[in-house]
Symmetry: C2
Subunit: 214 residues, 2 copies
């Protein structure tokens, strides 16, 4: 009796090429890691979301830690480039600050999981993998430079640039990180809805500018 070549009842064989598969695994990994962190995420969950088997994860990335590293790099590559950093030095501190904040908020809106992932990385891994990327130095370095310039020029009030950089980022980002808790407090609309995002942007910029300008 001849063998039946196609096994019925199986999930449809992937029509994706290897590159697409790898990309999709990374995307799935970002989603999972940004909710459960490195230790809390299971390869099974990533595999299921990417519609592959666990074995594929290990085939492409060797270990779970390998997927995590790759996901972090993939997420933050091209977030803030040294080129953009240069541009900020050619405009006034007020304009640079406003522009910087808007960029942060915009990237947070389009990639909602990015700051959750960063928070988990800080809390669970003490920034071990974050340190390996140079994005942190770049973001905080750029922001505190803008602040320092503004203070020296006399347009910003006297302040500690490093602490203020952290506090400004906190203002921008906390809204996203704490959404899970705050959604019970904001009864009206979904916090991720476009108009709420716009409100947050408006309020954050007004707050930060008022808090920094002389």
């Amino acid at each position: 009796m001849p063998e039946i070549p196609s096994k019925i009842g199986r999930p449809p064989k992937s029509d994706r090429n290897p590159d697409e598969v790898k990309t999709e695994i990374l995307a799935a990994a970002v989603e999972e890691f940004s909710q459960h962190g490195l230790s809390g995420t299971t390869t099974e969950a990533i595999a299921h979301r990417a519609r592959v088997t666990k074995a594929m994860i290990h085939y492409y990335f060797k270990t779970k830690e390998g997927v995590y590293r790759a996901a972090l790099e993939n997420l933050f590559s091209g977030l803030v480039t040294p080129v953009q950093q240069e541009e900020f030095t050619h405009i006034s501190p007020e304009q640079a600050l406003a522009s910087f904040i808007q960029q942060v908020l915009q990237s947070a809106s389009s990639q909602p999981c990015i700051h959750a992932l960063l928070a988990l990385e800080a809390i669970q891994n003490q920034g071990k993998y974050y340190k390996e990327l140079e994005v942190g130095q770049l973001v905080y370095g750029t922001l505190s430079c803008i602040l320092e310039r503004g203070v020296e020029a006399g347009v910003f009030r006297p302040l500690n640039p490093q602490h203020m950089a952290v506090n400004i980022l906190g203002t921008c980002v906390f809204y996203f990180v704490s959404q899970g808790n705050l959604q019970h407090f904001f009864q009206e609309r979904a916090m991720a809805s476009p108009d709420m995002m716009e409100q947050h942007t408006t309020e954050a910029i007004a707050f930060i500018m008022a808090g920094v300008l002389r």
Copy 2:
């Protein structure tokens, strides 16, 4: 031959009474949960930190989820009481706001894990257990009331009280939540050291007040 009554080589039998044991388990649970979250924490880790066996955890709290609920309640009971909430309405909005911020920062300094735990709860559980406590409503309700009063009195600039409440909390709290990542950026001293904490307090209050006052 008579049995040997004491088994040598065993860890010294606990000299604690049951109440102390339960308290110590809760303290250990807060430490572990605030670093790894509900799903990421193992009962083994809690047991080891509390110097008991896993079986004790289940004896006192039935399930891991039970320990988590108990730890949350224990941590937030008496953080902000309705009594304190009342007091804020009897002083000027500026004084109330400054006093509120100082209380938040002080509790964060003395309980460094509290906001990490809240962040993990938001990210990993979407605030499921946070919602069961009434602390959230209390904290954000109190703060946005203070802001609303200040705007109506004309001492604060026009602003959205709810969004501003979130942004103010973010300014206070982000420093603690992101310590793991930021420690690589703050080369000088440990971010949890007393003088760095004082600097953060000073900068946060100056920032918030400047950002809110007319």
